[in-house]
């Protein structure tokens, strides 16, 4: 059973599809997914796109900040309408062109990443919002992965653990000739 909170009224087909998704993926644990539409800067999309004709030509986009300037997802195989519904910009679509709410974006991901999607439903991938017991609210895929650039950039780690006063820790020696990368200094002595 799947309850997507905050489904848009536009995405009526999504309700039936969610039940189907749950039954096809085995005994998935019940879960809910929070709405993210309120966090979208340019929403509602049709304020602009309602007055523009959809253009399916792959081209360099001249867009304001907030819209993705480039699409690194899929290595050049995708264009906007691979995921977005060109008939209604406030909806997404699956690879089989079924329209979906923006809040059900994880089901678009399921179109290609079905194994990850199963793990996400089961709890082996992704993150639970709160509590280990009780209501199970999951973070949607797009909470962590930018859908236009899904790889997560490296960042700085938290500081390393302190060493007890008076001691210094052994570090690896990258240039060491030995097969042991942590060869201690005293083995390099010339004294025989």
């Amino acid at each position: 059973m799947l309850i997507a909170t905050g489904l848009l009224p536009l995405a009526l087909p999504a309700a039936g599809d969610t039940a189907a998704a749950a039954t096809t993926t085995g005994p998935a644990l019940p879960y809910t997914v929070g709405s993210r539409v309120d966090e979208l800067f340019f929403y509602p999309c049709n304020d602009c796109h309602g007055f523009m004709d959809p253009n399916d030509n792959v081209r360099e986009l001249d867009v304001d900040e907030g819209h993705p300037p480039d699409l690194e997802h899929g290595g050049g195989l995708f264009w906007c309408f691979s995921c977005h519904d060109q008939n209604n910009y406030e909806q997404l679509q699956t690879p089989l062109s079924k329209p979906l709410s923006l809040d059900a974006s994880y089901r678009v991901c399921n179109g290609c990443h079905s194994q990850k999607f199963r793990d996400w439903q089961g709890g082996a991938h992704g993150k639970r919002a709160a509590n280990w017991r009780g209501e199970r609210q999951l973070f949607s895929c797009v909470e962590c992965h930018n859908p236009h650039r899904p790889e997560i950039a490296p960042r700085a780690p938290q500081p390393p653990p302190p060493v007890r006063a008076g001691l210094h820790h052994m570090t690896r020696k990258p240039g060491s000739a030995s097969h042991d990368p942590r060869q201690p200094e005293w083995e390099h002595s010339d004294v025989r």
């Binding site: 005994p27 644990l29 990850k116 199963r118 793990d119 089961g122 709890g123 082996a124 991938h125 992704g126 993150k127 639970r128 709160a130 509590n131 280990w132 017991r133 009780g134 973070f139 962590c144 997560i152 490296p154 960042r155 700085a156 780690p157 938290q158 500081p159 390393p160 653990p161 302190p162 060493v163 007890r164 820790h169 570090t171 690896r172 042991d180 990368p181 942590r182």
Partner: protein, 314 residues
């Protein structure tokens, strides 16, 4: 309890046995004369009964509910003196039908160490002490030799090319060698599978640290130094309550949180969702999904300590 232990509880020297006995005599005389039960400085701000209880305290498992209640009040009063903060010390019992298990997805752990800093804050560890319940080991890809890991790694950004990250903490073994090693039964397994320490009962002999194959137990050499405003006032007797110096501490799966259905602090802090926590006895739990559907392993499984802590990759 030795003199050293008492001194460790009160490093100012006010709590040595000699002082205690001296004060005991004075206090009894004073109490008899005035018959006022208000706390006096002679008891380090405690009432006579609390000071008496502290000196002649019992093992946690042998305390009556009333004695536990008095102990918790005493701990709270002491924490108020020490940090000037109102601390609640709980004694939440284990939930029925729950045995905790943990799993870490090594495929998505990036070595950020957010779990470590969250753990330090949650459990009121000294900011400069080397007591950290979680160590994140930086390992070469294709190499599972823990001896060649590096836990002091500090590059500009993580993950580093060619490395993977393996967080270790207490594995909450089902057959824990540390518990067998303890000569005073200051550590034991709770019904929900958490191996806990009674800090008031620990004599600091560190046998358990030697027995543990996972480097999960840590000896606190100093009183934790931390800013008062960062003190976590939500504590549990068997968990993150203010500890005396000179006892052994360990990860307790955030007993003060998990027994109230909250996530452990490390799991809540993990930005990549690498950590999975849940009830091993519930077939519909996330941890059971991981154990059923993913290829999992445990560290040093051949030692037969039956850790309840699994690793897997996507």
């Amino acid at each position: 309890m030795s003199d050293d232990k008492e001194a460790a509880v009160e490093p100012q020297g006010a709590g040595t046995r000699r002082n205690f006995l001296k004060n005991l005599g004075l206090g009894t005389a004073g109490a008899a004369a005035a018959a006022v039960p208000t706390p006096s400085p002679a008891w380090n701000g405690l009432s006579f009964r609390e000071a008496f209880d502290e000196f002649f305290r019992k093992h946690y498992k042998k305390m009556s509910p009333q004695e536990i209640e008095r102990t918790l009040t005493r701990i709270e009063r002491r924490a108020k003196q020490r940090f000037g903060v109102d601390v609640t010390c709980k004694n939440t019992p284990a939930q029925e039908g729950v045995v905790y298990g943990y799993a870490i997805n090594l495929g998505v752990c990036k070595g950020y160490r957010d779990c470590v800093s969250a753990c330090v804050q949650e459990n009121n560890q000294g900011r400069d002490s080397q007591v950290q319940y979680i160590r994140v080991l930086e390992m070469d890809r294709g190499n599972m030799d823990l001896e060649q890991s590096e836990h002091y790694y500090d590059p500009a950004t993580v993950p580093v090319e060619g490395k993977f990250y393996l967080p270790i903490q207490c594995m909450q073994c089902d057959d824990p060698p540390c518990v067998k090693a303890c000569p005073v039964e200051a550590t034991w397994t709770e019904p929900d599978g958490i191996v806990v320490v009674d800090y008031d009962w620990c004599i600091g002999c560190r046998y358990c640290m030697t027995a543990c194959p996972y480097w999960a137990r840590h000896f606190n050499w100093t009183e934790p130094q931390l800013p008062t405003e960062e003190l976590n006032p939500d504590t549990h007797y068997l968990g993150n309550r203010p500890r005396p110096r000179g006892v052994v501490e360990k990860c307790h799966f955030c007993i003060q949180r998990t027994r109230e259905n909250r996530q452990p602090a490390c799991m809540e802090a993990c930005p990549t969702g690498a950590r999975v926590f849940g009830n091993l006895l519930d077939p519909d739990s996330e941890i059971r999904y991981v154990l059923k559907h993913k290829t999992v392993f445990r560290l040093k499984e051949d030692l037969g300590t039956e850790p309840k802590f699994w690793y897997y990759t996507d």
